[in-house]
């Protein structure tokens, strides 16, 4: 298929939540290197709270909104506004859609990524989640343009997200807590880049599974 049904898509977010939960310790460890070590705790808490609120009748957009609200109203920190804006925008862009196809999904992803950049003020190269999200977005767009295939665009975006995440390793942090480290922030992954890879990968893998149906 070249689309998924919004009202049947909450499972996509359930799988995102599961991946975040499974990676709690990993994300904590990555954040521990040059941050304060709480990224796993923060993410797990916000996504788990959302998980408890997602119910049978919810669709993809609803679930995005539930995640956004859990992050924004209950988690705070940096993740509240950053991922809160991200999922809030996914919701806002998709809430009136019955079916979501590649072109619509591209619009959603671009708007969501833009909202993260807007609230946080970070750009590619600053060693943040933007370094995962933006290339994932760009790869998705390139593949949609060239092949018009939703599935291969999702695959391309996962691959690009991984490369984006890994690119943060050699960067010097420019924003957030670890920016203060200067040169010493080089050599390890950025925690937000790592968690946004997990989100991209789990979300897009889940959508691909639906498309493969």
């Amino acid at each position: 298929m070249q689309y998924f049904i919004n009202s049947e898509g909450a499972v996509v977010l359930s799988l995102v939540i599961k991946s975040i939960q499974e990676n709690k310790d990993y994300l904590g460890a990555v954040d521990g290197e040059i941050g304060d070590g709480d990224h796993g705790v923060n993410m797990n808490k916000g996504f788990s709270m959302a998980g408890e609120r997602i119910e049978a009748q919810h669709g993809y957009s609803d679930a995005c909104k539930i995640i956004a609200e859990a992050l924004m109203d209950d988690i705070g920190g940096s993740m509240g506004p950053l991922y809160g804006s991200f999922f809030k925008t996914l919701w806002r862009q998709s809430r009136n859609l019955e079916r979501i196809d590649a072109v619509e999904y591209l619009g959603m992803l671009k708007a969501a990524t833009a909202s993260v950049k807007e609230i946080g003020g970070a750009k590619v190269g600053d060693k943040t989640l933007v370094d995962t999200l933006e290339p994932a977005c760009a790869a998705f767009e390139a593949e949609v343009i060239s092949s018009s295939d939703f599935d291969s665009a999702l695959a391309a975006s996962i691959k690009a997200a991984g490369i984006g995440r890994d690119s943060t390793k050699e960067m010097i942090a420019q924003v957030g807590r670890s920016a203060r480290l200067g040169e010493r922030s080089r050599g390890v992954l950025d925690a937000g880049a790592a968690s946004s890879f997990i989100i991209m990968e789990s979300m897009h893998t889940a959508i691909r599974a639906i498309l493969h149906g």
């Binding site: 939960q21 709690k24 310790d25 904590g28 521990g32 304060d36 070590g37 709480d38 705790v41 923060n42 797990n44 808490k45 788990s48 709270m49 924004m72 109203d73 209950d74 988690i75 705070g76 920190g77 940096s78 509240g80 506004p81 950053l82 809160g84 609230i119 946080g120 924003v175 957030g176 807590r177 920016a179 203060r180 480290l181 010493r184």
Partner: protein, 348 residues
Amino acid sequence: MRESRFLTKSFNHKSMQRIVNNPDDLVNEMLEGFVEVHSDLVRQLPSNPRVLKYIKAPVPGKVGVITGGGSGHKPAFIGYIGENMLDAVAAGEIFSSPTAKSFRDAIKAADSGHGVAVLYGNYSGDNMNVKMARADAEDDGITVKTVVANDDVASAPKSQPEKRRGVAGEVFMWKVGGAKAALGGNLDEVIAAAQKAIDHTRSVGIGLSSCTIPAVGKPNFHIEPGTMELGIGHHGEPGLKITEIQTADEMAAMCLDLILPDLPFESGCEVAVLVSGLGATPVSELYVFYRKVSQILKASQISIHRSYVGNYFTSLDMMGVTLTVMKLDDELKNLIDLPCNSIGLKQF
């Protein structure tokens, strides 16, 4: 009160020498105890237990003054709610910014119709959450203005003040802002006074040990015994340099060497000094440190108008100290001298 069932999987309170139940409940339980002990001064918002307000807030006719920040810095932030001090505070998780919702609720709780000054510290999460809260509050018709504390000279070069973090100097910013509002200043005057306070304030910290966030369960970072970290941040953000541990006198001199030229503080000026422990350093040692600070200032012809020594802005169980110096003018002097009644700062 919200249940926290999620984070217990890997939690073992036996891994730390601390007084906690489930660490995910720490902030809620701490606030519950806090409002009970201090019911003469503070109250929890029924609609949002993560926001505490002065019992008399919103004070009719007065500009509201609020702040917010991660928990784990006792008596900051909630300990500075009170008379002639803060009207409301949004409390985050340990070392984590409060939600935008909590900042917004704090703003609402403080607003008597004369606008609200949000006086907070320059941290990425706080910046974002205040930004969102401010937009929401303005949608509700509340005038909101902000001052972002950036007193930590070690956190960025002087040429990049927008990158500097707020540390213990925030106490002076709150004191001055709270006093200005109490004396009837309008929102712009309160903002101007608080901004002046922080612009006139410089701080630097020395870390002697790490701290442990209960939900994480192991030290946040590491300071090699026998060494100290000059310029450490209030959550253990790395400092300017790691040196062999120095005597108290040398520590004081190193801090002043960073602080004095930065503003600069000059011969003949009057200052307020705040020496705050980071949590686990015995208070007696803070006085030893202060003694040398005072000697050096005197030798530099800088006179100390008022000083504070104690645990004013801590970092859980970290060992170490923050030195804060504020250059005074007549207005700041009056405002810093105004009596106040909060848990963390009482002045007759």
